[in-house]
């Protein structure tokens, strides 16, 4: 690994596909960056914009949401509803000044372990290039926060 701080990446993965793909990547001994912290969610439709904001607010340098390919949702339409939300959310966050590459959305099915490894490696690389997130969602003023 090259020098510099390791980025923290939070991945919200759908239980029915992307989470299984991450599992399969492990079984197949495909390497993916250990910087990716995985949170299993029942569906990409479960991912609230507040989850991503909280992750960035509390220390993540990049976030990833991955669900089933459109049409393959375990709940028929969860990812289709999520897709509209993500389109708006990504545009909003980048409008608010977040670097492109800090919020990532993708579709990875349960059999696409190689895709999972590739996508996470790319996200890791981009996060590393961008450096630690020190943007407005971390900007403190007034009394220091007590954790």
């Amino acid at each position: 690994m090259d020098a510099g701080p390791e980025p923290k990446i939070v991945g919200f993965l759908c239980n029915w596909c992307s989470y299984a793909a991450a599992d399969l990547a492990g079984i197949n001994r495909l390497q993916y960056p250990a910087s990716v912290r995985i949170i299993r969610v029942p569906c990409s439709g479960r991912v609230s914009p507040l989850f991503l904001l909280t992750a960035l607010r509390r220390g993540a340098d990049a976030v990833l949401v991955s669900g089933c390919h459109p049409g393959d949702c375990h709940y028929t339409s969860g990812n289709l509803v999520a897709r509209r939300r993500f389109a708006m959310l990504k545009s909003l966050l980048e409008f608010a000044g977040l670097d492109e590459g800090r919020v990532n959305f993708t579709w990875i099915s349960a059999s696409e372990a190689a895709d999972f490894a590739r996508v996470t490696t790319r996200i890791y690389q981009r996060a590393k290039d961008l450096g630690p997130y020190r943007g407005a969602l971390r900007k403190e003023s007034g009394v220091p926060r007590r954790e």
Partner: protein, 316 residues
Amino acid sequence: MSKQEELRATARRLLAENRVDLILGYTAGTLPLRTTPFFARTPAEADLLVWNAFCEYNLTNYLPRYTGNRVGIVVKGCDARSLVGLLQQNQVQRERLYVIGIPCAGVVDRRRVALLAGGAEITAADITGGEIVVRGRGFEKVLPMEEVLFPSCRRCRYGNPVLADVVLGEKVPERKETYEDLAALENMPAVEREAYFAREMAKCIRCYACREVCPMCFCKQCFVDGTAPQWLSRWVGTADNLFFHLGRTMHLVGRCVDCGACARACPVGVDLMAFNRKMIKDAEALFGYRAGLDPEAHLLLGTFDPNDPEPFLFRG
């Protein structure tokens, strides 16, 4: 007959005929350039209603609280769109409403008037034709109306109510809606834009006035108030303020009609509309969706199309 006289006559008739229990409207404020929300319950009280370019409040915000009453409500163009939003989301029952629509050419931004008048105390203001005349001790200033309207009014395309049982007065000419207000921000490098929003958010004192006046913020419990999970700390800082405003903007996607009530209510003048405007622009560009036009339509984020665009997708 002026729009105000027509309004009073209509309100009197509705109350006298017992068609409604109350009329939500405006009455003269205690200061020049101001009106105040007014609930007329008797025909006599109807004569206290006013209509002028100072009627800035979006009265539809009160509607979800008057579920047991038959309500007559005065709406401008933007308010009518808010009302459509409330109907879409089953927050009000159409059959309990009598909607008095008034075509609106824009409402006056009193802070801007005060600024242009040099900050001296204004004791009287009159609108004649396309001008507003403000007077105070030892001064009189004439300002063109177009210059003192709220930003959201200057770009408003829906001055004529999209939904009403009766429309008073003549239609106003349609303005062309542009997104020029966003262009400057969109053309900035991301770093500068972030710095701009950080400055704006640093001003915010999180009084939640923007949420309170917003007709679309009708949740019984807001995400900022909860403690399990506690999304936000209780103290005020740039990061938490930005979190709040981004979260609120996401909740308003496909519902905000750009009435500008939040920006008017903000006591510290945060640029509250920029995020919402961006989402309004995107909703139209990506999905051809405009909020508050059709009570039967699904909400933007409440439905989907199998062929929705995926501009956000990262394929590695």
